[in-house]
Amino acid sequence: MIGVYILLVTFLLVVLLPLWYIVVSSVSSPGAVSAGRVFLWPVEFTLRGYEVALTNPKILSGFANSLFYTAVGTLLSVALTVMLAYPLSRADFVGRKVLTGAVVFTMLFAGGMIPTYLVVQATGMLDTRWAMIIPKAVAVWPAILAITYFRSAIPDDVREAGEIDGASDLRILWKLILPLATPMIAVIALMYAIGQWNSYFDALIYLRDDSLYPLQLVLRNILILNTDSGADAASALERQQLANLLKYSLIVISTVPMMLIYPFVARYFTKGLLLGAVKG
């Protein structure tokens, strides 16, 4: 039993330490961070990194764009996924096997980067906000999860009761099924939201105009390519130090929204994954 605890504490520390190190560094003075004097506790506490990060116009616009893409994208994705999954979950929906097969097949074989790019180009979505939302609107995995949920977690009696009362299929879905499916909706919404919030690659391919860039692409340019330190007026050394400090603060800032949502949805998440796993 001691062995089990040692193992789990090791897991815990391995995951936690890097996160803690980043947070501690983000509130330490740039000089202390650069000199390697920061380890487990903040040295010369300062919020300068956050100040610089939160006044940088590119970061702010990236943040706003990401909020937009995440909100609108998630809404659209969830709606389309339910529209797909509910009919495919119904035993009396003729053609569901063929359609389900066609949907699942796209998981096994994909057109690829360039052929997809050509479609986006042909539809005139290049360099527009649509390119961030439409081309990846529906994902197969959440759809499978939703189908399984509709089929196994919601008793058929609900639908039959609705039909006896004279409700149409749409009404039954809207008034009876969806309220019962809240945990599943929460799970797939979170899946899509994480995907949207964390994606940078579509932006890299489809967007030229940097006023449309999502936060992750702005972050990549600052954090990985070092193309914008956000501290133009400072001296060379100070700029270098501030740039490093800014990186730590940025990592914290960009992760906060997801971490805020996570505890609320986590319990649903476990349940939803459980269902997905049971099906598999």
């Binding site: 380890f39 690829g112 980067m113 360039i114 409700a167 964390n198 994954l273 598999g280």
Partner: protein
């Protein structure tokens, strides 16, 4: 409220003789009439799949054509297998394919057992608080973006200010720029991946473990099994089907290793190991606008991927009796 009650549906439902559908002509038409709202509902998502999944598949034809913008996809001249030949004879071919393969194989081997171990250990814990804490914390990195994970890795591994060089420096070892060494790229890639996903993947196994019949534990207890024997003879066999499914899915995506992360971790110094098929496709296609060649490379990748998946599924069905289909 303002809608007229859908009488046909109601009437049809009252008929006790409403047959469960049999295969006969007119079945679809009948379903369309009765269930038109469901068919209406499914049109937009299906349109999405046609437009952004199936049309791109059809666009894959440009791998066999000399694609040019003016003629368009269908108007361009046929190239036969020229672009595939160009890829196969390219000096980058061996590098890119073996990098992709080795990277995913390493990622698979490293990231596969750890979530299982984590789940088995968590399953032993009775104290709810400790269990939940470990779960919440190990799960959290899944929510962090690839960009952030990579920049954390870069910062922590940085030779001047990173955590690792501080620790090695403490023991008097010289600072190393890990990301400038090609040999180190795979380790960084794989272990950040494990760090990020282990807790998340463990949830699936935990769910499976929660479903184990308590009678089996009772029986094991009666037989005098100790903790390890119980894990080995009850827990592991119980989650084998889940393990198999996860394994098949991982092997099936072995060639689809994350473009996003490899691309972010790449720098000119580690390219000899970090250039994989996906990043190479991006450079050929988007940066050099060599659409036909890039598509041929991507198609090659997709086909290998599909073949791997089919083979693994077949093998698994023969060996363990369970597969994806």
């Amino acid at each position: 409220m303002t809608q007229a009650p859908p009488l046909p549906t109601l009437a049809a439902n009252k008929l006790p003789a409403d047959p469960t559908p049999h295969r006969r002509p007119g079945r679809l038409r009948k379903a369309l009439r009765r269930r038109w709202q469901l068919y209406l509902l499914v049109i937009p998502p299906l349109a999405y799949f046609v437009m952004f999944q199936y049309v791109p598949m059809a666009n894959g034809i440009i791998a066999f054509k000399h694609y040019n913008v003016i003629e368009g996809i269908w108007g361009s001249d046929w190239a036969g297998l020229e672009y595939f030949e160009r890829f196969f004879t390219n000096p980058m071919f061996t590098t890119v394919v073996s990098n992709t393969f080795l990277l995913s194989l390493y990622a698979l081997i490293a990231s596969f057992p750890i979530p299982i171990i984590l789940a088995l250990a968590l399953n032993e814990i009775r104290g709810r608080f400790f269990k939940r804490t470990v779960q919440m914390v190990t799960y959290a990195p899944y929510f962090i973006s690839t960009v952030i994970v990579v920049s954390m890795a870069i910062l922590i591994l940085s030779p001047r200010i990173g955590l690792i060089s501080e620790v090695t420096g403490f023991f008097g070892l010289p600072a190393t720029d890990y990301l400038a060494q090609p040999d180190f790229f795979r380790h960084v890639y794989v272990w950040t991946e494990v760090w990020q996903t282990a807790g998340y993947s463990a949830v699936i196994y935990l769910a499976a473990l929660a479903g184990v019949d308590p009678a089996l534990y009772e029986a094991a207890k009666v037989d005098g099994a100790n903790r390890l024997q119980k894990i080995w003879h009850v827990d592991l066999p119980s989650i084998t089907p889940t393990i198999v499914v996860v394994l098949i899915l991982s092997v099936g995506s072995i060639m689809a290793v994350g473009f996003e992360k490899a691309f972010l971790l790449q720098n000119p110094l580690n390219l000899s190991q970090s250039e994989i098929i996906a990043t190479y496709t991006y450079k050929l296609g988007i940066q050099n606008a060599d659409f036909s060649l890039a598509t041929a490379v991507g198609l090659f990748n997709s086909v290998i991927n599909l073949v791997l998946l089919l083979v693994v599924n077949k093998v698994s069905k023969r060996v363990t009796g369970s597969g994806l289909w």
